[in-house]
């Protein structure tokens, strides 16, 4: 049995705003959320890349201590967007707790802030008292499935838990696996997404791989520059995104707002190098998602590219898109506005794609001034355009050689 799956709510906390109004305004006005890297009193002074996609505004959290006690910063982000999509979707209370709603939510490695405090004790502990500084809840705050289970606790959700932790494909997998859970009748709805908190260790990892942007430290808003000749690497970022997926008939029957339909998903692995982008693997993912959706490549209007602004990654992605879709669909690199929100990027980019579908515009790739000819085989968007989007592909690729492609369609 295959069932149709629709998105009935979405929200994001991102470097370019919280919620639809702020985010759409940033997209329309070309406002970047990339700021200077913050001092962390640990390793930030050694990092060459001094830019970060930063959530720089306050968020009015309203979580009681009963929930806060097991939450690190990443779970705050996750529970906030989860709360917002639950409110938007308006599911009946008895359904939320009844077992037919599940959660697919992840982060790249739990809460690095909490982990760092644990390591500090580990290396500095000189007596029993300092050892006892490792709190009973530190594991619950820092474990890789901390976002999913804190959401389940806060809202009493009792369905299945999927907590992918596949770096940059974490939340695109969340949505994809949530889609499959609903499509095949395992759940009637899935709350899906991803989150990552401010973390300089992630910057250090990419910085040491020479994958981070360093040439625009004095002008953070000018980087990252996906597909641009002057791009010099990715910018790490923080944030969270979430969507509510529901079985179509169920959503329709209860009069839920239907924002879009998820029509296909594919995930594969390169089966080889864990870092280098792989043309065959990515190309295959895009093809598999079309097969999964049973649609032709010509039906895709818009591609939300993964496009981190690394030298090779952007070229391989453009080549794969050129081979599968040709020059037809518009291609936008949403990371140009905010950097790479890691585990959250698939969900945030899906949410932004839905916003563009709803509002009938396509945001340009920020900082794309001089298209690298090796990336020129696709239809880049350099200026804001008013254009209806019916079917969009959201692509994400991760360290470890994991690729995802999610296809969503506006219901007319």
């Amino acid at each position: 049995m295959e069932r149709r799956v629709v998105i009935t709510a979405c929200s994001a906390v991102s470097p370019i705003g919280h919620g639809k109004e702020q985010i759409v305004e940033s997209l329309l006005k070309g406002i970047s959320g990339v700021k200077a890297l913050r001092e962390d009193e640990l390793i930030s002074r050694f990092i060459h890349s001094h830019v970060y996609g930063t959530v720089s505004y306050p968020i009015a959290y309203d979580f009681s201590r009963q929930y806060r006690k097991t939450m690190g910063p990443v779970a705050y982000y996750a529970c906030q967007v989860a709360k917002e999509v639950l409110a938007q979707a308006g599911l009946p209370a008895e359904f939320v707790t009844g077992g037919r709603l599940g959660i697919a939510f992840g982060s790249i490695h739990g809460s690095p802030t909490v982990q760092r405090d644990i390591y500090r004790i580990f290396f500095e502990a000189k007596d029993k008292a300092s050892y006892q500084g490792i709190g009973a809840v530190d594991y619950l705050k820092s474990m890789v499935h901390t976002t999913a289970v804190n959401i389940s606790k806060m809202f009493g959700i009792t369905g299945r838990i999927i907590a992918s932790g596949t770096a940059c494909t974490t939340s695109s997998q969340s949505i994809g696996y949530g889609y499959e859970a609903v499509k095949y009748g395992l759940q009637d709805a899935m709350l899906c997404g991803g989150a990552d908190e401010y973390d300089t260790i992630t910057v250090a990892v990419f910085d040491n791989l020479l994958a981070c942007s360093t040439a625009f430290n004095d002008h953070p808003e000018q980087t990252p520059r996906p597909f641009d000749r002057a791009r010099d690497g990715l910018v790490v970022a923080e944030g969270a995104g979430a969507v509510m997926l529901e079985e179509y008939e169920f959503a329709k029957k209860r009069g839920a707002p239907i924002l879009a339909e998820v029509i296909g998903f594919a995930c594969n692995s390169n089966g080889g190098d864990l870092i280098l982008p792989n043309l065959d693997g990515i190309t295959k993912t895009l093809q598999l998602s079309l097969e999964n959706a049973k649609i032709d490549a010509s039906e895709i209007d818009l591609v939300s590219a993964h496009a981190t602004a690394t030298k090779m990654g952007d070229i391989i992605e453009a080549q794969a898109n050129g081979a599968v879709f040709g020059p037809g669909p518009y291609v936008v690199a949403l990371k140009s506005y905010m950097g790479h929100t890691m585990a959250a990027c698939g969900a945030i980019e899906t949410v932004l794609t839905i916003y563009m579908m709803q509002e009938g515009f396509i945001a340009p790739t920020l900082n794309l001034e001089d298209i690298d000819e090796r990336c020129a085989m696709v239809h880049h968007v350099q200026k804001l355009i008013e254009h209806p989007v019916k079917t969009a592909a959201v692509q994400n690729f991760a360290f470890g050689g994991v690729n995802t492609s999610l296809l969503i369609r506006k219901l007319t």
Partner: protein
């Protein structure tokens, strides 16, 4: 150290660590205030600080049956007596 001192300290701990103001003496803490196993472990650390003495594993296990404020105060009083701290 008097029983009143202990009660005052426990109330301070509940306010500071668990955000519970003036918990009632005989109600089930879990049912009334959502006090759970995680809070119980934290309470034990606070008790160690208060008594300035480490609790043994056996002493800690005895705390796992505690359900009310009164039982917490009884428990600390027992620990204090055992350590020769004056309890009137």
């Amino acid at each position: 150290m008097t029983r009143q001192d202990i009660e005052k300290e426990v109330r301070d701990i509940f306010l500071r660590a668990f955000e519970v103001e003036n918990p009632e003496m005989d109600v089930n803490l879990r049912e009334a205030y959502g006090f759970d196993s995680i809070d119980a472990i934290e309470l034990l650390l606070e008790i160690e600080k208060f008594l300035d003495s480490e609790l043994t594993q056996d002493e800690k296990k005895k705390a796992m049956d505690i359900r009310t404020m009164k039982q917490i105060i009884d428990y600390i009083e027992m620990l204090a007596r055992k350590r020769g701290l004056a309890v009137e």
